[in-house]
Symmetry: C2
Subunit: 437 residues, 2 copies
């Protein structure tokens, strides 16, 4: 019998596997990268190399950020409360045009520190210089589905579009057998990508059996533009191009008509809800409860820090649960268990990672966090799901294990030097200030 | 010259007085309960009894929770995601019917611990057994505007209504010259209080020159009920009873027509927005940007923990800023400075405490918090207001001073024993479980 590397004991386990599975006073054993035992009586509990005392806290799957632009952490608070086009044209685009690989690497490390410290173990990224994103995530010890953004214009990262496809193919080859990093093909949106680009991107995704990820139906102006250009609504357009399918992850999905919802459901397209970003940019509210009624997989994302302005999935869950109640004027929709699934097992399903992560099950990779509940704002506790969604905050997470590796212990990051990261990020911010004048 | 008791140095001061006042590398001196100096060159800085190093953090007025039911912290997560009437009839009412003074005292201490630890220094409370609320707040060292809830039914606290008026009068007399506690007259709502009750309550408020506080226009069913009973909308009804005025604090104000908004503005009625509770109970969205356009004072509240489920005003600010952008589909409304004012100086104005607290000004009482910004999720910092609203969390607050007294230092509560409070709250929760079966 193989020795146990890590045992987590003395906590309440929320498996998030199938129906609500709450196991009190239970332990989890980890061998290498894998969960080897869950229950009350682990074999030789003291023989583990590392014993973690959860101190009566909640032991749960690490959270999954279904859509973000990690390096935009360096634009946190740079420009808020502005009309969308002012925000983009005066701040975001001019800065992105001057960014380099090191900028993205620094910003992604900063984001990884924030994400681990707020309970996220997997994130799905779309940005420029994604090889640096993957490198930073790997250094942080995070699970990451990364993809280089593709659009009709030249990119500060790879130059002309054909180089973008090359860049993506290189990413796929480079990271193919990495235990933490996987790659997707990521055209930006229907209003920045020609039909030809979208078709080629889809062919590449199918060829390599990787996800195809795109922003869809985020704003009303996007719908108007797509309609004017192609005479169709966004999901009709995607269908006409032949690229609806279970490998497609559609981010945002704010403005949908019933026909489009049928198309998403019928083709098993995955969707990611980004409630806080959609609120902050005044984009609208995704009809998430309707999507779920149709059996559509909905994950949860924070979007980038420039439109949120944080990567805390706990507060994002809180907002999701509340926003969709207001959207429907029904306090019973998106109950806390449903919302916690969006950020765990359903998020994993959306990213095609449901066999790897998103729940605590024997044989799955060990992506596990511990939430410390010995605090006034988490007292008393009648229902752990409610607490995690409505009361907890990212900084209530005490420990994080990703792929069997302890990456945070008692809120100390073990894979990254936080002071170094903060100091490097502040230097990059000085550049940003110069760039925007 | 009097000696300085506390000096806070090495931080960026956000005064929240008048237009944006940001003072970098500045210090604050406190003598007794009062701010005696703000600036770069305090006199004899080392002579202070206590020197607090803000370590480059943000020094700002303590936050003001404009509307809560503190003791409902003991119902946190007891019942969520339910239709309003199930929630009230099956859970909240049966438990409240069995509550006693000790229950409310314990719940309020728990809430005070949570509030101080998340940066709140003043709260406005409406509940039963309010003398215990006042006692708990005083023990915690918090500033509190308290009022016993009055309605047509017998109360578990004081019994029949006439005793409620007596109870309130006794509160006013008992706490009249207390430096932290003040008292309001608090009829519950238009659908639980007869016109006669409302008129008497108003007379008492005017007689003692204290605020009159009431839930108004929270739900559509309330509007319908008031219309059916009295043939008028809520603010028309209040006007007909002669009780609109600058001493009236109207909590919620979700469903208002333009005529009512004119009445609120014309009579200088104060309002408190409770965005998270209004979302969670699917009550609706208060037209806050419209109220502000008319010059109406709008404070911010969390409402009770049973419908939120936390007392963190930082995340409440975040939600307020985002929710009202979605309500208006305009990303420029409720910018971060405006929202921070709701939780500080405007909140103080709403409660009639603007000469005492809500901003950092020489001569005002010292209600001051320090926010630690040396964290990944608060890096980099281009705009402190943005960070406080969109990125910070309650547990980023490191220090709290209320009325010149240091009540939290490096996240250690100095006025309350947190372990004791958690343990007492857990015992009360066991009772609650029995009560709801």
């Amino acid at each position: 019998m193989q020795p146990v590397d890590i045992i987590i004991k003395n906590g309440t386990i929320l498996t998030m596997a199938g129906q609500a599975g709450i196991m009190e006073d239970s332990s989890i054993c980890i061998q290498g990268d894998t969960i080897s035992y869950i229950g009350k009586n682990p074999d030789r509990p003291d023989s583990a190399t590392k014993i973690i005392d959860a101190k009566g806290g909640l032991i749960m799957p690490g959270l999954i950020n279904g859509h973000t632009h990690a390096a935009m952490s360096l634009f946190r608070g740079l420009a808020d409360d502005l009309p969308l086009m002012t925000w983009l044209n005066k701040y975001i685009f001019p800065v992105e045009a001057r960014m380099d690989a090191d900028f993205v690497y620094t910003g992604t490390l900063l984001a990884c520190a924030e994400m681990i410290m707020s309970g996220t173990t997997t994130f799905c990224d779309m940005y420029l210089f994604e090889d640096e994103v993957a490198e930073a995530a790997f250094r942080a010890g995070m699970r990451c589905l990364a993809g280089e953004v593709l659009y009709d214009f030249p990119s500060p990262s790879y130059g002309p579009l054909e180089k973008g496809f090359e860049y993506t193919e290189n990413l796929i080859r480079k990271w193919r057998s990495n235990p933490l990093i996987s790659i997707a093909v990521e055209p930006h949106s229907l209003f920045t990508c020609s039909p030809q680009l979208l078709i080629e991107a889809n062919e590449m995704a199918l060829k390599y059996k990787v996800p195809l990820i795109i922003h869809v139906a985020e704003t009303l102006s996007e719908i108007a533009e797509v309609k004017e250009k192609y005479g169709r609504r966004p999901f009709e357009h995607l269908e006409a191009l032949g690229i609806l399918g279970p490998h497609l992850i559609a981010d945002h999905c704010v403005h949908l008509d019933d026909m489009e919802i049928e198309r998403i459901a019928g083709n098993n397209v995955k969707t990611i809800d980004n409630p806080e970003s959609n609120m902050k940019l005044a984009s609208g509210i995704s009809p998430v409860s309707k999507l779920m009624e149709k059996g559509i997989t909905v994950g949860l994302g924070t979007d980038g820090c420039a439109s949120n302005n944080n990567l805390d999935l706990f507060t994002e869950m809180d907002t999701a649960a509340k926003l969709h109640k207001i959207e429907t004027m029904d306090p019973t929709v998106l109950d806390s268990f449903t919302v916690l699934k969006m950020a765990t097992i359903e998020g994993a399903r959306a990213l095609g990672l449901e066999d790897v992560t998103g729940s605590i099950e024997k044989g799955k990779k060990a992506d596990i966090i511990i939430v410390d509940i010995n605090k006034p704002h988490l007292t008393p506790m009648y229902n752990p799901y409610s607490h995690l969604v409505y009361s907890a905050r990212g900084n209530d997470v005490s420990h994080s294990i990703i792929n069997g590796r302890l990456v945070m212990e008692n809120r100390q990051l073990l894979t990254l030097d936080v002071d170094d990261i903060i100091s490097s990020a502040r230097k990059k911010a000085m550049q940003v200030r110069e760039w925007v004048g």
